[in-house]
Structures are given as structure tokens and as C-alpha cells.
Symmetry: C2
Subunit: 268 residues, 2 copies
Amino acid sequence: MTSPSVPPDHPRAESLRVREKLIERYHEGVVASAGLIAHGRGEAFDYLMGEKTTGPALRAIEAAAAAIITAKKPVISVNGNVVALAAEDVVKLSQVTGARIEVNLYYRSLERERAIKKILERAGASEVLGVGKDASARIPELGSERRRVDPHGILVADVVLVPLEDGDRTEALVKMGKRVIAVDLNPLSRTARKASITIVDNIIRATPKLTKTAGILRKQGRKNPADILRNFDNKKNLAESFALIHRRLLKLAKEKKHSTLEDEKLDL
Amino acid sequence: MTSPSVPPDHPRAESLRVREKLIERYHEGVVASAGLIAHGRGEAFDYLMGEKTTGPALRAIEAAAAAIITAKKPVISVNGNVVALAAEDVVKLSQVTGARIEVNLYYRSLERERAIKKILERAGASEVLGVGKDASARIPELGSERRRVDPHGILVADVVLVPLEDGDRTEALVKMGKRVIAVDLNPLSRTARKASITIVDNIIRATPKLTKTAGILRKQGRKNPADILRNFDNKKNLAESFALIHRRLLKLAKEKKHSTLEDEKLDL
């Protein structure tokens, strides 16, 4: 059932390598089965976005960087897909910004929590919150195990970065008064609309850019983080991403270009 | 790692049930891990299509039904995702049209072939081609195990229904002079463009409609299958599906309606 290695000249080599990594992490118990399906949805929207960081995404990344570096207690919430796709990048972001890392899963199991923690530690994390008994606090308005958070992490955070999150949790965190930064390739999703700042981009591309931008803003360059945040309008930014998809569809239709989404060697 | 049962009042209950079925079949060794990711891509496009059988899809279904009932040797090619999503429907289509069923996998393994055959037999199939040594023939222009087909099935078929197929194989079959019918939710995909007739619809909705339409056409109603086929233009039909996605995006943007793609309880 394992995939053969990807031929380097394959037109979708990068996308296939990412997919193989995700499947590998699935077999290690890090990624959940529904996480594989969610990745496929992301792939489709990424293709429609042109598989690159767009102008609106760069502006959202700048706002997110401003929010994180001016936060008192920023936290990066990670799940199986996040560590499978961007463990090293998340650790670097944490190191540059001082944001703490917390494991936060939809379906919690101690095995998965520990497997995710291990990957983060291997990637250089010196601290991982939210594992096992550490997730002893509860956030309101969410059912069962999803409510569990770390009393030293998400519970008391003022800014939470929730890449690849679900709409309910995003909304619950916003209602708690937190500034929530989402990374979501679907600009129409409820997560995208409920978040304070939505980065419509692939987490693999967005996270290193976020780290770099945070570093630049920290050095107090020309731009003031407070100004950036004041001038950022998430609804407007989402509408711009949406307009880009729309224009890209028109362009694809004109070119009669084939989507290469189905070119990949699908294991069907 | 198994998903909890879906609450019946969940706004995405149907989509979640389908997903759970797919994951169940994955754990049985029927669906491949890359098949889960492929399903996610399909979900995204299905959402963009409005999750219903569109006018263009109905016309493609009619053309497909005409092609199958006038074929000398029609074959339905099935893989893990197809049996997970529509085993009973595929068997009914086979029974109504006389099309033979052949297992055809990207990554062949005898275990998967047998697991798929078993599900088809449980769904009422009296014959399943292409399992084990039966897949002794080769089709040109494809690498390795993907080339293997049944000499009594796809090799000699004049019409092949290939739901959820990859672009390479679709193209190879077309080059062999076969009329290829694809079911693909992405109207821009290479599969969609290479096939003779492309049904841009969810296999779950399309297959029973295809069976029903084949039954009606067989009874020699008002419409002549040859006329239907002559009047069907796949490129034009794909362009119509594409235009529908485009209009739906505009409508969603106007309504500022949230995509519910991310509303599902994602196991991340």
C-alpha cells in the first residue's frame, strides 16, 4: 500500500512528494484518516489558487506576523497534518517569535499527541504544550475532547495561530476574545470567515514566509506592526483571494489548459 | 482513529457518511491511502459544482447510456474508491446493460483485487474480471502493473466506463480506439479532457442515473441512441460544466455564503 517513489521529472513531483510524506505520517499514527481527505480538498483549492503565495496571502501573512510579534502570549496550535507538512517551519516560527507550541487535536488520543510531540521535538522544539494531562483546561462551546486545551497555552493566549483548523474551534476561540490566525486554502470556508486574520495559502509556503516577515518586523523596519494591523481588513482580503480564483478559472477556461490535478499517479 | 458516528442533523451529514464509508473501506484494504486524498479533491470540486447533478452532467449521462447500450463489449472498470462509494450501483448498471465488471488498479496487489471482488460479489455481481492471473493482457503506453488488463475485458472492449480514473490510462484506452466514459468532478482534469464522454458528477449520484437512463433508452423510447451520440460534444459539455462552477463562485461571492467544506468535523 506504500507509494513508489516519485520520479523527479514528474510534472506534479512536488505535490506527490508532499502527499507521500503525509501518507507516511498517516502510517505512523500522526495524521488521521480524515486528515488525508482534508489534504485532498486543500490540493484542489491550491490548484485553483495557482499553487503560489498570492498578493492577498502576503498581506495576510504580514498582518499575522504583526499580530504574533505584538502578542503577549502567542500560541501555535498544531495537529497531525500541520506537523506532517511543516514541523520544522512551525518550530522555527516559534523560535523567532517566542510563540509557544500546543498540540490540539480533533480526535484526541495519547498516542497521537505523543507522536506529534516527538516529531516537533525532533524538529527542534524545546517545549510542546497540550499533551496528555497537560491539556487539562476546557474551552466553552465545544463538545467532548475537542474542548481540551493547555491552561498555560491556548486557554490564556491572546493570539492563536490555528493552521488547518475547523470552523467550530476557530469560532469558539474568537468568542473567547482571542485574535485567531487561520491558514486555509478555501477562502469561502467557515474557518476562513470566522478567523481574525486568514492566510489563504498552503501551510508549506506560508509558514516560512510568516517567520521571515516576523523577523523583519521585529527589527523595527519601516513598518509599524500596529499600523499594519489597523489597516488589515480580513473580509476584504478574503474577497481578493476569491477574486483571484475567479480570474484564474477564467484564464484556465480561455487557455483550455488542463488541470494537472488528475495527472498525478493516483492510487485508486 | 475511527470516526465517531455522524449526528443525523449535521449540515454535512451525507458527505460525512460517505467519508466514513471510504475510511472504513480503507481500513479493510480496499481503498488506497492516495484514494482518500483523491476523494478530498473530489469533495472540493463537488462543492464548487453545487453537490448536485447538473444539466450538462445529465446530458453526458444520456450520451454515456447510449454508448454503453449500443456497445458490443462494454466494460466497467472499477477500483477501490469506486466499490467503496458505489458497489451496488455498479452491479446494477452491469445487470441492466450487460457490461462486464473488471477490477483495474493503479497499484495492483492480489489482496486488494480480491477484497474488491468480494465487495462486488456481495453486492450481487456474478462475474468479476481482472483479478489475479486473469489480468494477463497488457495495454500499450503504460508502465508496470498499471498495464495489466483482462484479455476478456478491457483489452477487447469497445466501450469502457472508467470512473475516477487517471489521465494516463484514459488516454491510453482512447489511443487503443476505445470509447472511454469518465466520471470526474474536475472538468479541467486531463481525464475529463481525454475521455470520449465525461460525466462531471459524483459517482454516487451519476451511477444510478446512468442505469436508469440506459434502461429507458433500451426500451426504445422517443430518443435514438445513435442520434444522442452524434449530437453529443464532450468539449462543449465540459465547457458548460466549467461555466456552471464559474457562475456558482459568483453566486457564493455575492451571497457571502460560507463554504461548508470546512464545517465538517475534520479529524486533524
